[in-house]
């Protein structure tokens, strides 16, 4: 029996100062037992996201060290960015990956929320599976400190670090497909088609059409909330075909953060119609 493995995907309200971004990433990367999967910082949003995995104890430790670094370095009193945010550590979800259930993850999130409130003197709101009411992140953003009281910590925002939303959710894949067309209506149209009730009819897919101004491209920006039902390859093929039909091209795609292993394996199987391939046939041993 191997250790249970969870994923943690905290978002921090800093995307511009490289030394702060690096301090937060280092807090995670230097925690023994944790694997840093990915991180990215966005200047426009002035925001960063770090993805890491490991057994519950090391992951909780890395999350607390990263949170402490964020409280030390980030002050919302002089923070500007287009993304809504509640605090220096904005949201901190735990995701079950292996040998652990979503309710066990929720219990871990509750304990982590308590620790963060006590150790950093921060108001903590629980969300998704960790909240009894299954509050969503938009719920908490809208009603924090008015309709919704913090679950742990002080009843008012921390003077510089605000508050933090901690919880447990299922895996999701953040996935973008970039189109050569500058006309945003094509991206919006394809995004609409992808939804379960659209022409594509993909279950558990949320999609938006966006303009990437700095690159003269448009983007179909997707959240796959049920990765076990929707193959990335099927999604990409649909978008590429529709882009062709609408007079443009799918020029590239981007996976943001983690790609669950089962989803990567499904992609391999679907892309080459290898119906009989077994997961053990892939040699992890020389993954690049």
């Amino acid at each position: 029996m191997s250790d249970p493995i969870i994923q943690c995907v905290p978002n921090f309200s800093e995307g511009r100062r490289p030394e702060v971004v690096q301090a937060i990433v280092n807090a995670v990367a230097s925690t023994p037992g944790v694997r840093l999967v990915d991180w990215s910082a966005d200047t426009d949003h002035n925001r960063m996201v770090v993805t890491f995995v490991g057994p519950p104890d090391p992951v909780a430790k890395a999350a607390k060290l990263a949170a402490a670094a964020a409280v030390r370095h980030i002050s919302l009193t002089d923070h500007h960015g287009v993304h809504p945010r509640l605090g220096a550590i904005d949201v901190l979800p735990l995701v079950p990956i292996r040998d652990i259930t979503i309710s066990q993850c929720s219990e871990l999130a509750v304990r982590l929320g308590e620790d963060i409130a006590r150790e950093l003197d921060l108001p903590v709101f629980l969300y998704e599976f960790a909240s009894r009411q299954h509050r969503t992140l938009p719920d908490v953003r809208r009603e924090a400190f008015s309709e919704i009281k913090p679950d742990f910590g002080p009843m008012t925002p921390h003077p510089t670090a605000g508050a933090v939303v901690v919880g447990a959710r299922g895996p999701l894949i953040a996935y973008n497909v970039n189109l050569g067309a500058s006309d945003i209506r094509i991206a919006r149209r394809i995004a609409r088609e992808l939804r379960a009730d659209g022409a594509g009819g993909f279950q558990g897919v949320r999609a938006l059409g966006l303009a990437l101004e700095s690159r003269a491209l448009t983007q179909v920006s997707i959240n796959i909330t049920r990765p076990e039902e929707t193959s990335l390859y099927t999604l990409f093929s649909y978008i590429a075909k529709r882009a062709d039909e609408l007079g443009t091209k799918a020029v590239e795609s981007e996976v943001i953060g983690a790609l669950p292993g089962f989803s990567a394996f499904g992609l391999i199987r679907d892309a080459i119609a290898a119906t009989g391939i077994k997961p053990g046939q892939v040699l992890w041993e020389n993954w690049p």
Copy 2:
């Protein structure tokens, strides 16, 4: 610094008696430190292949245990099958996977050949990189015991187990794409096009058109000898497109044995045009 990892892909002249197949597979699977990647047995060819990986010592140990089981259970005096073969253990290649060179693999193959000759009293021929003349397997099959003397062991075939060919080679992928058409000419035509000097122009690709009589399908049967230059996705897409143009369909594909990790990652990247994806983004932790 992690252990060097090699792959071993021995072929045995048994594909019909399940208890013998199982004894050979078990010899590998029960060796500590070795990962059994895949095995398959073919009744028509009366032949089996086992793929496993691990550090040099465990791999050599598993190879010797499997060889001993083959000598114990297989007798060529009552063996019938369509595949050419030199012995009960027919060919035993070592492949460098990680942190080891092909010449270090060749040295290991030479030592393994010596051990097998001594411990099992078998004539051993070296081939590919382990042989000074870079003898190929067809060379050895054609000239064993006449033009070519065994490198180790007795100068005449073992009465029941024949001889064995041991060596080192680079990674290769055995890959088949099955076509819906029963007309073998389409499979042959596409196979011809795949070669480096054909319309497809794929480097390091060997291909044949075959009939799969029992299934009323035809097959483009491929060996990719330079997997770092040829993406499985590009190959499959080419075949699928050509099959369409020639009035049939690529209905499925098969990876036989191991798919190198770098090749699986390249497939993921190519299939969804994810030019920026990094290997670490894939969560091995929940590979199915």
